[in-house]
């Protein structure tokens, strides 16, 4: 909750102009379990409905109730939706953190606070607005027990007034949120109005931040990445979902179950075209998914770091016995239990090489809800085409925070169920071998129980191309080399990177996943503030395609931006490149559990650029 130099704040980017329109971040500091979620989402949605690009990030503790929580809403007319370093408007509801929160603000920031906290005494370079929450809530909510919940809506009213958000939009947003609970709706409406009226009557606008209607969100939806992944998996036709609860992945399967109950019940019989099973742990969750994949079903599980570690042995089985399954890893901060409610891109290396022996696994790298929706669909196709576990590497920021998104497009391409033996193929091949590469892509044909075609014995121990047990050195080498050929072939099947080459740029940025949003903003900062043009390659999958090497070759230095300590993707990139290009790879790392912000990237790239030039001059 610290914030950087003034230079980095919306207020002063460009000539310090009043008013600052649609470019601010609001941080609401509360305790969890206090019901502030409704107020925060209503505020977010009001801005969104007003056409202002927004993003919402919830910073919550790893417990259930009573600890400090911060919800951040960023409104940005430029469309930047990454985390912004520093807060422009603080809503200080939590006595426990209020002092520290206020002391961490940059000069000029705004503080809306609960009057008895007397925060205005702390500093004189901020704009303070005191609000007597308890006094205001009492009349609108006679039932004292409910006041805790309703109280928060007051700050929505205050902010609506201060920022100039149209009250009808707030009302509409509130309506959406509580449509099904008319009693709660009425109470909250009253609280909203109480806040608004109080501000109108008592608070004189003394800060520059203003919300104005724009047209930048029309057609968009608001959604979190876990829901997007769930919708994608459902549209991919998943039939077997096995999972074990773990933050931040639980809501992926829970949302999926909810959607499936709605959209995947057989219309005629009312029966389910899917099974969702809560397993006893992650080993079992993946074991079930593999059992189902072996039988020919589209199966998946979702987990986070500790679960990935527990899945190591089974992942190796899937790799070597060549069984499809889709695994969503909604990454959180490790190692071990780490920070379960904070975000990271920290499982890249251990997932790429998950399990003993020579193994490597395809990973998809979504950066937005729309993309994880599409990649969820792609992942099932890839798992069946490649006959191997495929990982979708999401993270807490994507999975649990609220993002604007294009609506999800209907998947027009038919499902790719991979190389399933058919009577025709069998006739054409003459003789079938489960693990025989008949066309050079390393991918053999498979049969599944019940399809009436020849059976085979699936195993994690050594086997020849007819799936017979074998300890022969030659059989082993032929098989493991073929599996590697398959992995190399995967380079041509996975989503290619998105490349933006800028004419004349000598510096490239490589990113992936949620780091994307801060990179987009940082590249503008680099260009606008330092005149540094950068090209950009956004990785969307491992193994990499040829675009990566071409990109690195075309630039003097490439900065791999990621959210871990050890430069995990940079390591994979380095190992993949022609070694002569290795010196061009640089690392920009951020790993404190908060989503990376543009300023951090900009500062670090400029620092390294300066060093590189100094080096060159020497």
């Amino acid at each position: 909750m610290t914030s950087p130099s003034l230079a980095s704040r919306g207020v002063t980017s460009g000539p310090a102009a009043f008013p600052v329109v649609n470019d601010f971040s609001i941080q609401v500091a509360t305790v969890n379990g206090s019901g502030s979620q409704t107020a925060n989402l209503v505020l977010l949605r009001s801005l969104f409905q007003s056409g202002v690009p927004v993003s919402g990030k919830n910073l919550f503790p790893s417990n259930i109730a009573g600890l400090p929580t911060w919800f951040t809403i960023r409104a940005c007319r430029h469309g930047y939706v990454g985390r912004k370093k520093g807060t422009d408007i603080l809503v200080a509801m939590n006595p426990e953190t209020a002092h520290e929160d206020v002391l961490g603000l940059d000069p000029g920031a705004v503080v809306v606070y609960d009057e008895p906290l007397r925060l205005n005494a702390l500093r004189d370079d901020l704009v303070f607005y005191a609000v007597p929450f308890d006094k205001l809530v009492a009349p609108v909510c006679p039932d004292a027990k409910l006041r805790k919940l309703v109280r928060n809506m007051i700050y929505d009213g205050v902010l609506a007034k201060l920022l100039g958000i149209e009250l009808e939009e707030v009302d509409r947003a509130l309506d959406r949120q509580l449509a099904k609970k008319p009693k709660a709706l009425a109470l909250n409406q009253a609280a909203l109005r109480a806040g608004f009226d109080y501000a109108a009557a008592n608070l004189e606008k003394r800060d520059p931040f203003v919300a104005e209607r724009m047209q930048a969100t029309s057609g968009r939806i608001l959604v979190d990445g876990n829901a997007a992944a769930a919708i994608g998996a459902m549209m991919a036709g998943v039939t077997v979902v096995t999972w074990y609860p773990i933050t931040p992945s639980s809501s992926l399967c829970e949302t999926l179950a909810t959607y499936m109950r709605r959209y995947r019940m057989d219309p005629e019989t009312g029966k389910a075209t899917f099974a969702v099973v809560q397993a006893e742990d992650e080993l079992s969750a993946l074991g079930m998914a593999l059992g189902a994949g072996w039988m020919g079903a589209r199966s998946m599980t979702a987990t986070s770091g500790p679960g990935i570690s527990l899945m190591a042995e089974f992942t190796g089985l899937g790799y070597y016995a060549e069984v499809p399954a889709v695994i969503f890893d909604v990454q959180r901060v490790g190692p071990s239990t780490g920070l379960p409610t904070r975000t990271a891109q920290g499982d890249i290396l251990s997932t790429a090489f998950l399990s003993h022996g020579d193994t490597r696994h395809p990973m998809l790298l979504p950066s937005s809800p729309r993309e994880i929706y599409e990649m969820a669909i792609a992942a099932f196709d890839l798992a069946e085409r490649l006959q191997t576990p495929v990982f979708v590497m999401s993270d807490l920021d994507l999975g649990m925070n609220t993002w604007m998104s294009e609506p999800f497009p209907y998947p027009d391409a038919p499902m790719d169920r991979g190389k399933r033996l058919t009577p025709e193929t069998l006739a054409a091949l003459g003789e079938w071998g489960r693990y025989r590469d008949v066309d050079g892509d390393g991918i053999p044909y498979r049969t599944v129980a019940g399809d009436g075609l020849p059976p085979y014995f699936c195993r994690g121990s050594g086997h020849n191309d007819r799936a017979q047990y074998s300890e022969r050195p030659g059989d082993y080498v032929a098989n493991i080399d073929r599996i590697d050929r398959k992995f190399q072939h995967a380079r041509t099947l996975v989503p290619p990177p998105v490349v933006e080459r800028v004419e004349g740029a000598r510096v490239g940025v490589i990113g992936y996943g949620t780091s994307h949003w801060a990179i987009v903003e940082s590249r503008d900062q680099l260009r606008e503030e330092a005149g540094l043009d950068t090209s950009y390659l956004r990785l969307r999958a491992f193994p990499f395609g040829p675009e990566l090497e071409a990109f690195v070759a075309a630039h003097d230095r490439v900065y791999v931006v990621e959210q871990n300590r050890d430069g995990q993707m940079a390591s994979l990139v380095t190992l993949d490149l022609d070694a002569a290009l290795a010196p061009r790879v640089r690392r920009v790392l951020h790993y404190d559990g908060l989503p990376v912000d543009a300023r951090t990237i900009t500062d670090e790239i400029l620092r390294q650029e300066a060093a590189a030039h100094q080096e060159a001059r020497r």
């Binding site: 995947r264 099974a275 074991g287 059992g291 189902a292 039988m295 042995e313 089985l317 129980a449 019940g450």
Partner: protein, 350 residues
């Protein structure tokens, strides 16, 4: 559960009701030690499937890792098999049945595979009553890693090197029953007749049929001092009843005095006829089963036979309200919601 269409036997060769010879049910050549109890069990599985007229194509064989877990390669060569990882066959089997509920799933495990590393998955499989046959080839030791004690080794049983087991055994039958398995039996690899009847009954049952089969390891655990040696088990097994199995496609032709035989009707209509031996054992009575297991264990005996059965407990798949067609076989048209569904979802998020 997967016994289907019959065809007239061709004259001259001995075939079962679907026209297959016994040989059609065999698998690869065993690489287990000569005399290993596990081999006898594989033979009984072959016979049971033959006699029941099981279609191999509708069977899936699953196992973990161990000598016992190798056996699926040695029976039913025409069935798909999955030799998974150590102790984790239950989850793989659960997933497989979810994907295709029409298959007859047969799992084979060892006492190490199930009782040690796999006990967690075992517990949860039993609790779910996943429809499958779960065979533990129980030799009280780890055969494949050369004879270490397993969790089913009895208190006081000794290893070849003289090490004495000082921990109480896990009684897999008691555990399975308490957790919710709907068919629990114990047998002995040397008792062909009993094992065969139990296997056929397990095929006819719907739900988890857990068979704990004492199966001596002739290489590492067949010496004096071991309570899992062939001779010790033979001397200490205590059949609860005399079992005959009458498949659904045959008439009961056995004569018995009224009152001496209890008949249990299984899911597919087959019947188990239990001729009373000691006492009036009722495998439908969990409390009695529990008492008998623990009392015999205290006496150092192994009760064998059908210990517990509940043909009515719904199996795990029944709880899931699945469509009739196996999930794995659903066409895209039934698994990808229509455009309108996605439109509605998008709209709700606007």
């Amino acid at each position: 559960m997967t016994t289907t269409s019959s065809s007239a036997p061709a004259p001259g060769r001995k075939v079962n009701r679907i026209g297959l010879e016994l040989a059609a049910y065999r698998g690869g050549k065993s690489t287990l030690c000569a005399g290993c109890g596990h081999n006898a069990i594989s033979e009984r599985i072959v016979e049971a499937c033959y006699e029941m007229g099981v279609e191999s194509e509708r069977v899936i064989k699953l196992s973990g890792i161990g000598c016992s877990s190798k056996s699926p390669a040695y029976f039913l060569g025409q069935a798909h098999g999955f030799n998974a990882v150590h102790g984790r066959m239950p989850s793989v089997a659960t997933g497989a049945t979810l994907a295709n509920h029409r298959m007859l799933a047969m799992g084979v495990s060892g006492d190490g595979d199930t009782g040690a590393i796999g006990i967690g998955q075992f517990v949860h499989l039993m609790r779910r009553n996943v429809p499958m046959i779960y065979i533990v080839e129980n030799n009280g030791c780890y055969g494949l890693t050369k004879g270490q004690l397993s969790p089913t080794a009895d208190l006081g049983s000794t290893l070849k090197n003289g090490v004495v087991n000082d921990l109480p055994p896990v009684d897999l039958c008691a555990l399975a029953m308490d957790l919710g398995a709907s068919f629990v039996a114990r047998s002995f690899s040397g008792d062909k007749k009993q094992m065969l009847s139990l296997l056929k009954a397990a095929i006819a049952h719907r739900g988890t049929a857990m068979l704990d089969i004492l199966s001596p390891c002739v290489t590492f655990n067949d010496h004096e001092g071991s309570t899992k040696s062939y001779s010790y088990v033979k001397d200490h097994e205590e059949p609860l009843e005399e079992i005959s199995f009458v498949p659904f496609f045959e008439e009961i032709s056995i004569d018995y005095e009224p009152g001496t035989v209890r008949a249990v009707t299984l899911h597919d209509g087959s019947k188990l006829l239990l001729k009373k031996l000691a006492g009036d054992y009722d495998p439908g009575n969990k409390a009695m089963a529990r008492r008998v297991i623990h009392e015999s264990a205290a006496r150092g005996e192994f009760p064998t036979g059908l210990i517990y059965v509940d043909p009515t407990r719904p199996d795990f798949l029944a709880l899931l309200n699945l469509v009739d067609q196996p999930l794995a076989e659903l066409p895209a048209g039934r698994t990808r919601p229509p455009r309108e569904a996605l439109d509605a979802i998008n709209d709700a998020l606007r």
